[in-house]
C-alpha cells in the first residue's frame, strides 16, 4: 500500500488542515463553552447546576427524551422493516417525507404545533371540550422534540437493515418461525448496534433542541423549561457563567453519548474484523 498512498508530507498537511478546520469550527467552540463556564470558579459552576430550576429543567429534559426517543425508535424500526425488507412504489417519496423534519426550520417545527393545538388552532375546539392541554405543557414539548428528532433512528436503521439483506429472515421463515419470532429472534439482534447508534444521535438532538421547544414551551419557570431554554434564560439574565455551566451539562451529555457511540463503533468494528480474520484463517485451514 505504501507506494500507492500520498507522500508523508501530503498526508500530514492534510491532517493538519483537517485539524485546523475542526479546531476552528468545532473544538474551539467547545473549549469556549467550558472556559466560560468556569470563568467565575467552580463554586459558581456547581451552584448553577445545583439550582432547583436547573434540576427541574434536567428532569423535564430527561422526561422529554425518555418519551420521544422510544417513540422514534419504535417508528424507526417499523419504518426500516417496511422500507428495507419490502419493495413498493413510492419508496423515494416516503424516504423523503421521513427526511423532511431535517429540513424544516425548528421555528416552523414549533409553529406548526401552535397552529394545530393553540387556542386559535385547528384542533382547539376538541382540546377545549376535552380540557386537554398540549402546547405550553409537556405534551407540546414532547411533540416538538419528537418531530425534530423524527428521522434519526429510521435513517440510521434503514441502510443497516438493507445491507443485512433478507437471507436470515428467509431462513427463519423456512424453518417455521412466525413473523414476530423472526423479528425478535433474528432481525432485532442483528441490527441492535444500528438501533443503539440511532438512539444515541436521536437522544443527543432531543436533549439539545432549542428552537422548536422554545416556541411551544411557554417558559414557565420550573415547569416547562428544558435545559436549552434554561441556558437561554440564564444567559439573558447576565448569568453568563451559570448559563455556560448548564450548557456544559449538555455538552458533557453530548460528549458522553458520542463516546458511547465511538465505543459501539469500535466494538462492531472489532467484531467484524474478528470475523474477517477468521475467514482468512478458515481459508488457510481449508487449503491445508
Amino acid at each position: 500500500m505504501k507506494h500507492v498512498t500520498e507522500p508523508a508530507y501530503v498526508r500530514w498537511s492534510l491532517i493538519a488542515v483537517a485539524f485546523l478546520f475542526l479546531g476552528l469550527f468545532l473544538i474551539l467552540p467547545l473549549i469556549a463553552v467550558f472556559t466560560e463556564a468556569f470563568k467565575q470558579g467552580a463554586g459558581v459552576f456547581l451552584a448553577a447546576i445545583a439550582e432547583p430550576e436547573t434540576l427541574s429543567a434536567v428532569k423535564l429534559t430527561l422526561l422529554v427524551a425518555a418519551i420521544s426517543v422510544p417513540l422514534n425508535v419504535t417508528f424507526g424500526i417499523a419504518a426500516a422493516w417496511a422500507i428495507a425488507k419490502f419493495s413498493f412504489r413510492g419508496k423515494n417519496v416516503l424516504l423523503t417525507l421521513i427526511d423532511l423534519p431535517f429540513a424544516v426550520s425548528p421555528v416552523i417545527a414549533g409553529l406548526i404545533f401552535v397552529l394545530l393545538f393553540g387556542s386559535q388552532g385547528v384542533a382547539a375546539p376538541w382540546l377545549a371540550a376535552l380540557d386537554l392541554k398540549i402546547i405550553f405543557a409537556v405534551p407540546g414539548i414532547v411533540l416538538a422534540t419528537t418531530f425534530v428528532t423524527f428521522p434519526f433512528v429510521a435513517r440510521e436503521l434503514i441502510p443497516v437493515m438493507e445491507a443485512q439483506g433478507k437471507d436470515e429472515e428467509e431462513a427463519a421463515v423456512s424453518l417455521g418461525a412466525s413473523g414476530w419470532k423472526t423479528f425478535w429472534r433474528v432481525t432485532l439482534p442483528n441490527v441492535k448496534w444500528g438501533i443503539l447508534y440511532g438512539v444515541i444521535l436521536c437522544n443527543a438532538r432531543a436533549m439539545g433542541e432549542f428552537g422548536a421547544v422554545s416556541v411551544v414551551s411557554g417558559h414557565i419557570r420550573g415547569m416547562t423549561n428544558t435545559l436549552p431554554l434554561h441556558v437561554e434564560i440564564l444567559y439573558n439574565e447576565y448569568q453568563f457563567a451559570a448559563a455556560f455551566a448548564v450548557a456544559t451539562l449538555l455538552a458533557v451529555l453530548a460528549l458522553v453519548t458520542l463516546v458511547l457511540k465511538s465505543l459501539i463503533e469500535w466494538k462492531t468494528e472489532r467484531k467484524s474484523k474478528a470475523e474477517e480474520d477468521y475467514y482468512f484463517d478458515a481459508s488457510g485451514e481449508k487449503a491445508g
Binding site: D167, A172, S174, L175, G176, R185
Partner: protein
C-alpha cells in the same frame, strides 16, 4: 415426497425469470438443477420453497396443491447459497432454532431438543463445535451447519442452492461425497442447484438443465451427456467442438469430411458438434473408405492429469478444435506439438438451422447421421 411443478411462469417487473416450467421430481431422488448464471435456478427453488410467488402455474407436493400455502406450512428444508446462518447465535442455537420457535403445544421439551441437535451435530460431524459462532467456522463447516439446521425440522424434502459454490475445490469434493452419503442414509428427496456440470454429473441421480428460464432437458447424467436434446445442452455439458459446413445433395460436408444425411433434409448451412474425446487421433489415414477423417496440425498438447488434450487446427478449414484421450493412449501415439495427424470425427451431431425464424436465437434441429 414427490414434487410436481406445473406450468410455472414467474416474472419480475419487465423480466421473465421462468417461463412455463414443468418438472416432476419423484420421491427419494437426488436431483441437480444445472444451468448458467441467470437461468432461473434460484428462482425455481425459491418458488418451490414458497419464498416467492409465481404469476401462473401450480406446485404440487405428493399431488397436493401447495401453490398458495405459506412457507411455514410447506415443511421444506432450504439451504441457502451463502448459508444464511444466524450470526448472533451459536451453532447449537442455530440448529435448534426451527424447534424452539414452534408454538408451545408442538414444541419438544428442552431435553428432546438437546438430544436432537446433538444427534444432528453427529450426523454432520461437527460434535464439539456446538458453542462456536458461525464466524468461527470454515466455509465447509458452515455449510454443514446450514444443512443440519434445515434437517432439524424434519422436512419432507431438501432444497439446496449452490451448496458448494463458495468453497475450495478440495473441500468441495469432500462435501459432495458426504452429501451423497447423507442422501443414501436418510432417503430424502433432495433438489440442489449448481452451475458446475461436473458437480451435477457426479452427484445427481437426475439432472435438470435450465437455460433462460426454460427447462432444456431432464434426464440421468449419462442421458444428458450422451443424448443432449439440443445444442445448448450439448455445449453446456462438457467441452465440445463445433464445425461449420453445408448439406448438399443428401451429403453433409464439413470441410473435407463428408457424411450421409438422413432422407429429406433441406439443403443449407449445418453445424456439427463433437465431443473432444470422440475425436480419434492417429498418425496414419484411417482404413475405412468413408471420408470421416481430416488432417490437422497439433498446436498444443496439454497434460491434464489422467487426460491429455490436443489442440488441433484442421488443415482444410483452419478451424481449431480439441481432442482428448487417456494418458495411456497418448503415450502410445508418440506425437509432439507441430505434428500433423489424422483425426476421425466420431459421434458427430449435426444440426441445421430451423426454418422457423421467429425465435430469437436460430433454433437448431438435429439431423441423423450415418457414416
Amino acid at each position: 415426497m414427490s414434487i410436481e411443478v406445473v406450468n410455472i411462469t414467474k416474472s419480475y417487473k419487465n423480466f421473465t425469470a421462468l417461463e412455463n416450467v414443468n418438472l416432476h421430481i419423484p420421491e427419494g431422488e437426488l436431483v441437480a438443477l444445472l444451468g448458467p448464471s441467470g437461468s432461473g435456478k434460484t428462482t425455481l427453488l425459491r418458488l418451490i420453497a414458497g419464498l416467492e410467488q409465481a404469476q401462473q402455474g401450480s406446485i404440487l407436493f405428493n399431488g397436493e396443491d401447495n401453490t398458495n400455502r405459506d412457507v411455514r406450512e410447506r415443511k421444506v428444508g432450504f439451504v441457502f447459497q451463502h448459508y444464511a446462518l444466524f450470526r448472533h447465535m451459536n451453532i447449537f442455537d442455530n440448529i435448534a432454532f426451527g424447534l424452539t420457535v414452534r408454538s408451545r403445544k408442538t414444541r419438544p421439551s428442552k431435553e428432546e431438543i438437546r438430544e436432537k441437535v446433538h444427534s444432528l451435530l453427529r450426523l454432520v460431524q461437527l460434535e464439539g463445535l456446538a458453542h462456536r459462532y458461525p464466524s468461527q467456522l470454515s466455509g465447509g463447516q458452515r455449510q454443514r451447519v446450514a444443512l443440519a439446521r434445515a434437517l432439524a425440522v424434519e422436512p419432507k424434502f431438501l432444497l439446496l442452492d449452490e451448496p458448494f459454490g463458495a468453497l475450495d475445490t478440495k473441500v468441495r469434493q469432500e462435501l459432495r461425497r458426504w452429501l451423497r452419503h447423507l442422501h443414501g442414509k436418510l432417503g430424502l428427496t433432495i433438489l440442489f442447484v449448481t452451475h458446475d456440470q461436473e458437480e451435477a454429473m457426479e452427484l445427481a441421480d437426475r439432472v435438470v438443465v435450465m437455460n433462460e428460464g426454460r427447462v432444456e432437458q431432464v434426464g440421468s447424467p449419462e442421458e444428458i451427456y450422451l443424448k443432449p436434446a439440443n445444442p445448448f445442452v450439448y455445449s453446456f455439458l462438457g467441452r465440445v467442438n463445433l464445425f461449420r459446413g453445408r448439406i448438399q445433395n443428401g451429403r453433409i460436408k464439413l470441410g473435407e469430411a463428408e457424411f450421409t444425411a438422413e432422407q429429406g433434409v433441406s439443403e443449407g448451412p449445418a453445424i456439427g458438434y463433437m465431443r473432444p474425446h470422440d475425436a480419434e487421433v492417429s498418425l496414419h489415414p484411417p482404413q475405412s473408405a468413408a471420408a470421416t477423417a481430416v488432417q490437422a496440425h497439433i498446436e498444443r498438447i496439454t497434460l491434464l492429469g489422467p487426460l491429455v488434450r490436443l489442440e488441433l487446427r484442421r488443415l482444410d478449414t483452419k478451424e481449431v478444435f480439441e481432442a482428448e484421450m487417456g494418458r495411456q493412449r497418448f503415450l502410445e501415439l508418440l506425437v509432439e506439438e507441430g505434428d500433423v495427424v489424422y483425426v476421425t470425427l466420431n459421434n458427430l451431431s449435426i444440426y441445421v438451422e430451423s426454418e422457423l425464424q421467429s425465435v430469437p436465437t436460430p433454433a437448431l434441429t438435429p439431423v441423423h447421421v450415418t457414416v
